[in-house]
């Protein structure tokens, strides 16, 4: 029972990070029909930007700020203007393939200019345990879970309770009508790219102390988040959140109770089942687009 509790907490912590990344998938899809296959590498890169800042002498807190700002500049603004905008006019598929190329480019660039070896990365959450319901639970798991949940709730509040969020919703649901009623659609789309960049930078900050900074570390994350987004519902932020948490827990339980070798297969089997029996995802809605 104690083991199950530990597995659930660890799974939820990892799942919350998957959720951050999966939310980014859905945001980009909803506003600009971008399926970003470089999303995993987008999580990998900010950690290296932060490490580069630290190597240049910046303290950790400053490196975090610089890393997030640079991520928003490179993975938000530059990504949209230099890759998505020129490619999107050729269709969704060429853009998806271009993001695959970008993923390879980012990995090779980090390998070439930083290192092919893993690097340590400091944690913003202190180590140690706290007692919950009589179980010793790692502070790091709880901290990661809380920070990720806070980010997701903040985003949900922004989308549902502010004028800005409503404009983003309008831009996603019907850009033509949104333009007619005065919503700056292009600016709203850019904002979703910047939010995605912020989320991946946050995910990077939370996951890298556990996974270590390595040029390949985005592969697992990107795949898990993509599966999470589809399982939860690619057209719903709340679906991506649920999918992320579900995949995190499922992955850990599969590794513990099924087999380590087949742990990656279990979410895949679940994905196939969802596609077969509920193709819009667990919380998604058929034929609807909303953020």
């Amino acid at each position: 029972m104690s083991n199950l509790f530990d597995l659930l907490v660890a799974g939820l912590a990892t799942g919350a990070i998957y959720a951050l990344v999966a939310v980014g998938f859905t945001l980009l899809w909803q506003t600009s029909q971008t399926i970003n296959f470089a999303q995993g590498e987008f999580v990998m890169l900010p950690a290296f930007l932060m490490l580069a800042a630290m190597h240049a002498g910046a303290p950790f807190w400053l490196a975090i700020i610089l890393g997030i700002l640079l991520s928003m500049l490179l993975l938000g603004l530059a990504f949209k203007m230099l890759l998505v905008d020129p490619m999107l006019r050729h269709g969704v598929l060429p853009l998806a393939i271009a993001t695959m190329a970008l993923a390879i480019g980012l990995k090779e660039a980090v390998k070439q200019f930083f290192s092919a070896e893993a690097s340590p990365f400091p944690s913003i959450v202190p180590t140690g345990d706290i007692s919950i319901l009589g179980h010793a639970v790692s502070l790091q798991s709880i901290g990661v879970l809380l920070l990720a949940i806070l980010a997701v709730f903040g985003l949900t509040a922004l989308l549902n309770r502010t004028s800005l969020g409503h404009q983003m919703q309008a831009a996603a649901q019907n850009p033509t009508v949104a333009r007619i009623i005065g919503v700056p659609v292009e600016r709203m789309i850019l904002l979703t790219f910047l939010i995605n960049a912020f989320l991946v930078a946050l995910a990077s900050l939370l996951i890298t102390p556990i996974y270590l900074a390595k040029f390949t570390s985005g592969e697992v994350l990107g795949q898990a988040a993509f599966i999470a987004a589809i399982i939860g519902g690619f057209n719903q932020v709340r679906g991506a959140i649920a999918g992320g948490l579900l995949i995190g827990v499922l992955d850990n339980l599969a590794a513990a109770y099924v087999s380590t070798q087949y742990r990656a297969a279990v979410p895949m089997i679940f994905l196939i089942a969802v596609i077969l029996f509920r193709p819009q995802g667990l919380l998604g809605r058929a034929e609807e687009r909303t953020v």
Binding site: D6, S119, P120, I210, Y211, L212, L253, A255, T260, Q261
Partner: protein, 376 residues
């Protein structure tokens, strides 16, 4: 006058040719570039240092040693081509490569040529295929794992052990030997966990270890995965003592795992931190020549050349065909040949028996806690 000059020149040429012919030729194929560049460069520098020393003292049986270095680019395919090229030059002994994968594909070539190959690979299977020309410079898993199991049973007093291993040839080979030995000694394996190479998340594996509540945990993963599991073990508050091999307590692991590496123990066959005067002297000489402290691969390269010297001295002649037969079963004592650094015995399969070291990570540094004696 002209004829005198011509005669002198001919004499000089003949003398030079004679000296050249008398030199004993060694061929080295190592990982001088690519992913294994650190391994190969240390190995090469160790070789060069040993040859310089031996030649300064008059060589082997009065003949100088010469070595050619070729780069395998850390690629088994390139290693095979380079070894074939080296063998075509008919060297006395082949040195290298360091990577087990490269050794695996080059060993049949050397065996076919009847040339002894002294290499740096550690995978158990390398010396289990009946190759009569292959020799190690460090422990294979079949030599190191019994020592590890004995330490876990005798010194750690562990009655129950969790074994975590990486699911590849390296991990499986080590796991099979250690589990067998633990079973023989009476320590029960209460969790036998295979993990994947490159695995990032060890939460579930550590959860299983916690559930098994072992007296000790044996970790046999590659360096990066070792660092990740050390962090996860600390995160989940596992307090059972941790035991491993070089891959658990290496400097890179300590750098990656930080505080989580403290307290981890590991068995290492060769380390320049060993409390052995000859090794300390080697370390100083190496550092003076190359301006850095070598890792165990520098020691391996150095030892390889002294294996050539000691075996040739034992034969009393330079005979590449008889070399392998002589080295099989040979014990070389450091008191007779200081370059061998520690007493060593070679088995009929080319494996070695030598004292080794139990290292513990203390405040981010490797500290040699115990010297483990030769098995035989």
């Amino acid at each position: 006058m002209k004829s005198t000059i011509l005669a002198g020149a001919l004499l000089a040429f003949a003398t030079a040719t004679s000296v050249h012919a008398q030199a004993i030729k060694l061929a080295d194929v190592a990982e001088l570039s690519g992913g294994g560049a650190t391994v190969g460069t240390n190995w090469k520098n160790g070789i060069d240092l040993a040859i310089e020393e031996i030649n300064a003292k008059g060589g082997v049986l009065g003949r100088k040693l010469e070595v050619t270095h070729a780069d395998s680019q850390s690629n088994p395919g390139v290693a095979r081509a380079q070894v074939q090229k080296a063998l075509d030059a008919e060297p006395y002994v082949l040195l290298g490569p360091g990577y087990s994968g490269s050794v695996k594909v080059t060993a049949p070539l050397a065996a076919e040529a009847g040339i002894a190959q002294i290499m740096g690979g550690e995978a158990a299977e390398l010396t289990q295929g009946g190759n009569k020309f292959l020799f190690r410079t460090s422990f294979g898993q079949q030599s190191s794992m019994p020592k590890v199991a004995k330490y876990i049973h005798d010194d750690m007093k562990a009655k129950s052990v969790a074994v975590v291993w990486v699911n590849n040839d390296f991990g499986r080979g080590g796991r099979d030997v250690v589990v067998k030995e633990l079973d023989r000694l009476g320590s029960k394996v209460v969790a036998d966990l295979s993990t994947e190479a490159g695995q990032a998340d060890f939460a579930a594996d550590v959860g299983k270890i916690k559930a098994a509540n072992p007296d000790a945990v044996f970790v046999y993963l590659n360096e990066e995965e070792s660092a990740r599991i050390l962090k996860e073990l600390k995160r989940q508050g596992v307090t059972a003592p941790l035991m491993g091999e070089t891959t658990l307590i290496g400097q890179k692991v300590i750098e990656l795992a930080g505080d989580a590496a403290n307290g981890a123990r590991g068995h290492v066959g060769l380390t320049t931190d060993a409390p052995v005067d000859l090794i300390k002297a080697f370390r100083d000489k190496f550092a003076k020549k190359y301006n850095y402290v070598p890792d165990h691969n520098g020691l391996k390269g150095y030892l390889a050349v002294y294996m050539v010297k000691a075996t040739t001295d034992k034969m009393g002649k330079v005979d590449s065909k008889a070399f392998a037969d002589t080295l099989h079963g040979l014990t070389i004592k450091a008191v007779d040949e200081p370059g061998i650094l520690m007493d060593v015995t070679f088995s009929d399969t080319g494996d070695i028996d030598r004292q080794s070291f139990l290292v513990e990570v203390v405040e981010g540094k490797q500290v040699v806690k115990q010297v483990l004696p030769k098995v035989n």
